[in-house]
Amino acid sequence: MGKTIIEKIIQDHTQDEVKPGKIVWMDLDIRSARDFGGPNVAKHYEREYRDEPVADPTKTYFTFDLCVPACTLKYADNQQICRGFAKKHRIAVFDVDKGIGSHVLMEEGLACAGKTVVGTDSHLNILGAVGCFGQGMGDVDITFAFKTGKTWFEVPESLRVTIKGGFDWPTSAKDLTLFILKNLGTEKAALKAVEFLGDSTTNLTLSNRITLCSMVTEMAGIIGFVPQFDEPFVQEILDFSGEKMMSIQGDPDAEYSDEVEIDVSGLPPQIAAPSSPTNVFDVSELCGTEIHSGFIGSCTNGRLEDLQEAVRVLKGKKVKEGIMLKIVPATQKVYAELLQEGVLEDLFRSGAIISNPGCGGCAEGHIGLTGRGEVQVSTGNRNFAGKQGKGLTYLASPAVVAASCVRGEICSPEDL
């Protein structure tokens, strides 16, 4: 019997028999904690293991990305607790200047194809974008992982999703992702590893794959992989992290719990209305809805390419008077690219507000929050009631957010 992608990666990290439903002990290549969860990891560790060393300091990291630099006393304390623990155990910290931990782990080549990575970020399965098995966990689990370098895991079933057809600007990977969410809901991919296949996935860039894989969490899936790629993607990953992109494919005779086909031919821009990421419409259906602010960033849409999509709409135009367009690059590296490519200047001239790198409003610790009555169009991944504040959040692509901020109401770039 052949193996699916997730079964292959897990088998590479365990002596146990790997098949869906079986619990195995899995070796972890990287274990990490953020400024949320991290302080509890430090506290649990000191209580349970006192001065004993972590399993391997070179495979253990803190990544601060939620409230960076700390703008609340609680986070300032919590980050300092983590720094103290890190110093004592000789663990590296990607500190408040570095940006979103999951992205930094990919940039540094620590999270790459075939590896296993855990951390206190429920969107860590985003690492599927580079063929890495990433998984978010609670602080008890992560404490144990720091100490032992292992975790137990129930091998998930796999779901095959074949994407048919292609689409053109202004439709983007975010629109594709929202449309898949509309089709799968929170049931079809629940507790499963998802393999996204089909010719139109081959040309997806790293940013595109990140966008798609980041929202497998909202599909209630364990992780998503996009195994088809060709030479340009291999080169992109080499330039990005210095890593040679390894190909991991599901075997033809592997067992999949289900197969789904989704036709995206001619797909128009999509938008998820409050208060669920699966509450998805064509942008044209909600066109004209008044907004007060826009947010471009988050682990889903915070890379150079995402912000270039926004600039494609914004260049030579202005954000409408009274509308806030809040922009948060994913990482310091992205910030440097924005400077180099002149994107920062274009964004600035359009009237956008640009912050330092980080998670943005998803975490309540950074910009992107909404007040009661505020309507925000965001490139984030969650729009649950109360998540980003008391306002209403719509989820869309960078291009749709940019266009909507120019007009002051929900619209597609083509409407400008």
Partner: protein, 179 residues
């Protein structure tokens, strides 16, 4: 002490129509208004405090009682309190067709028996599992007996790992014993 056999009275978490309630999320099990409570003993009184029809559960439950519930129990957030509140009430175990992924991990890591069963939906529908029934459960073999109604049924046996963590009382102690 080997903890393999459990015996106790069951609570079937059903709605007014007698259907097992599905997708009970962590906010219904333990509302976020009480997340600041850190002392385990104080968490019991909030168990199921946000679940329609079951808000008085903490007053009715006795130590050793068991819970039978619908699929995807513990969906939602990663809060450990949604497990700890049952430990505080000394509920001995929970049986459901399925659990939320993080909830299941948290329960196992706390040494709290959460057991999956393909049978309970049907048995509740047929009136063969009712609140107040006395049942015996062997968590290792998965064999169960409804003593009140005199028949046997099954739950999926605990995996080796889950059982080992459970026997020593949690992931940290389990880890210590490995050394």
């Amino acid at each position: 002490m080997e903890r393999t056999y459990f015996t106790g009275k069951i609570w079937v978490l059903s709605d007014l129509e007698g259907q097992l309630i599905e997708n009970i999320d962590t906010d219904q099990i333990y509302h976020n208004a009480f997340l600041h409570i850190t002392e385990l003993a104080k968490m019991g009184e909030y168990a199921l405090g946000n679940l329609e029809g079951w808000k008085d559960f903490p007053k009715k439950a006795q130590p050793g009682d068991m819970i039978i519930t619908g699929r995807n129990f513990g969906a939602g957030s990663s809060r450990q309190q949604a497990v700890d509140c049952f430990l505080a009430l000394q509920v001995s175990l929970i049986i459901a067709p399925s659990f939320g992924a993080i909830y299941f991990r948290n329960a196992v890591n706390s040494g709290f028996p959460v057991l999956k069963s393909h049978d309970v939906e049907r048995l509740v529908l047929e009136g063969k599992l009712e609140t107040g029934d006395q049942i015996n459960v062997n968590v290792l073999s998965g064999e169960c007996t409804n003593v009140t109604k005199d028949f046997s049924f099954g739950v999926l046996p605990m995996s080796e790992v889950q059982h080992a963590i459970f026997q020593v009382g949690g992931l940290f102690r389990y880890g210590n014993e490995l050394r």
